[in-house]
């Protein structure tokens, strides 16, 4: 029983490849809860907290993409350059837990746990993020849509580490909204990310906590793109706004659980999506 604390990405990949069954720990905000409650008993552990290469972000030379390291803490996304480039991610980061949790949590952890309530995941989905996975000898890119397989299930293979998420820098509007029982320190009951790419004339709507994994509302997106010119969106008529929310709710697949009811979640995503589209109109 050992805990490895690799000091470089090279060493981390070597450790994960040598011991593919080792438990990977990033911020610990999900894993330690499971361990504290005796739901999981790891033997070998690889802690990624000293791997500096995955605790940063890089803007591509052509300014078209940002590569966000899987271990970058949420607190680093709330302000500054990254928040300007990816406002929806900053807004999602801002809603994660408390300052204590945001100092530890990261998108690598959200992706690794792959809970449908993971706060950053709707943003990655709406922006069509590409996830980079590596072993000591391989590197592959996978769409976030293919990465998220189901409730707490993802496409990571044993021995692979989640290295980064590549997100496009769009010319348009993006926002994130979430409902919980109070402002701070809540796991979302329902969440929504809206992205309008004015250059491409496309829209992305992604929902969290209302299905086994993040839901992209493809039918609603196509419908809205037929109704209005997304390159020159100004005011969405009230009747369109209402139908937009109704269609989003229809694409959600919520359940009743200890956090909320399916009926309320359906209502919540309708309201959140309308609210975001209204903000996109006015900002």
């Amino acid at each position: 029983m050992t805990v490895l604390i690799p000091q470089s990405l090279h060493d981390a990949l070597a450790a994960a490849t040598t011991n593919p069954d080792a438990q990977i720990i990033q911020g610990g905000t999900d894993l330690m809860v499971e361990i504290n409650f005796n739901h999981r008993k790891p033997t070998d552990v690889i802690a990624l907290r000293r791997v500096d290469e995955i605790r940063n972000y890089v803007v591509s030379a052509d300014k078209k993409n940002v590569v966000v390291g899987s271990g970058l803490p949420y607190r680093e996304m709330e302000h500054g350059e990254l928040a300007k480039l990816l406002p929806a991610l900053a807004q999602a980061a801002r809603t994660v837990g408390s300052p204590q949790i945001r100092a530890a949590g990261s998108i690598g952890g959200n992706l690794g746990t792959c809970s449908p309530a993971g706060d950053a995941l709707p943003v990655l989905s709406a922006l069509d993020a590409v996830i980079n996975l590596q072993t000591a000898t391989t590197s592959r890119e996978i769409s976030v849509h293919d990465f998220m397989v189901g409730v707490k299930r993802n496409a990571r293979q044993p021995g692979e580490l989640i290295i980064s998420a590549t997100l496009p820098i769009i010319n348009g509007w993006q926002g994130y909204a979430k409902v919980g029982v109070r402002n701070a320190m809540v796991i979302s009951i329902a969440s929504c990310c809206l992205v309008i790419d004015r250059e491409k004339g496309s829209i992305g709507v992604a929902l969290g906590a209302v299905g086994p994994t993040i839901i992209r509302c493809r039918e609603t997106e196509q419908w809205l793109a037929m109704q209005i010119d997304l390159k020159n969106i100004s005011i969405v008529a009230t009747n369109l706004l209402k139908e937009f929310g109704d269609r989003v709710a229809k694409e959600s697949k919520p359940i009743d659980d200890h956090r909320s009811t399916a009926a309320y979640r359906r209502h919540a995503v309708a309201t959140l999506s309308r609210r975001l589209l209204t903000r996109a109109n006015t900002q």
């Binding site: 330690m32 409650f37 204590q100 530890a104 320190m185």
Partner: protein, 163 residues
């Protein structure tokens, strides 16, 4: 770098402390309280929701219940016990007493560590910044009014000391 899960050292409050006979999955909170005798940090929810176990680790306020202790061997940890080197009180601790910010006292160590961390980084916070900084610390007794008063008093005291 690696830690044998049963034998490792932690750097707590400026001292290297030996942890012996531990299990790999033990949280930093458990190790602090049960193995190192530092019972100031409190354990309530053990899932990062209540903040009563807050410690400073490498300059960040974190929930020690969510830190795997054996992964913290190269980290600098400050607990409520390490805020002062002797039996004196910090301005924040003193203000909690004078303003009546303590009732049952269970959340107090976590709140004080979170507030010390806030004021060290932002000596004159707005009311919103204070609320934000302690949004992860739950107090079920005071209703927070007296805690906010304690922060205001501590800010004034600290400013006077630093003048």
């Amino acid at each position: 770098m690696s830690a044998n899960s049963e034998v490792y050292d932690l750097n707590v409050n400026g001292q290297r402390l030996q942890v012996r006979d531990a299990w790999v999955g033990e949280s930093l909170l458990y190790v602090l309280r049960e193995r190192l005798g530092l019972a100031g940090s409190k354990g309530a929810c053990e899932q990062g929701e209540c903040g009563s176990c807050t410690v400073i680790m490498d300059g960040q306020a974190v929930c020690s219940c969510l830190v795997m202790a054996a992964t913290a061997i190269d980290s600098k940890i400050t607990t409520i016990e390490g805020l002062t080197q002797d039996d004196s009180l910090t301005a924040v601790q003193d203000a909690f007493i004078t303003e009546g910010g303590v009732q049952c006292g269970f959340c107090t160590p976590g709140l004080i560590v979170a507030i010390e961390h806030l004021l060290d980084n932002n000596p004159d916070p707005s009311q919103l910044e204070v609320k934000e900084a302690i949004s992860g610390n739950i107090c079920r007794c005071t209703g927070y009014g007296r805690i906010f008063e304690a922060v205001n008093t501590a800010v004034t005291t600290r400013r006077a000391i630093n003048l």
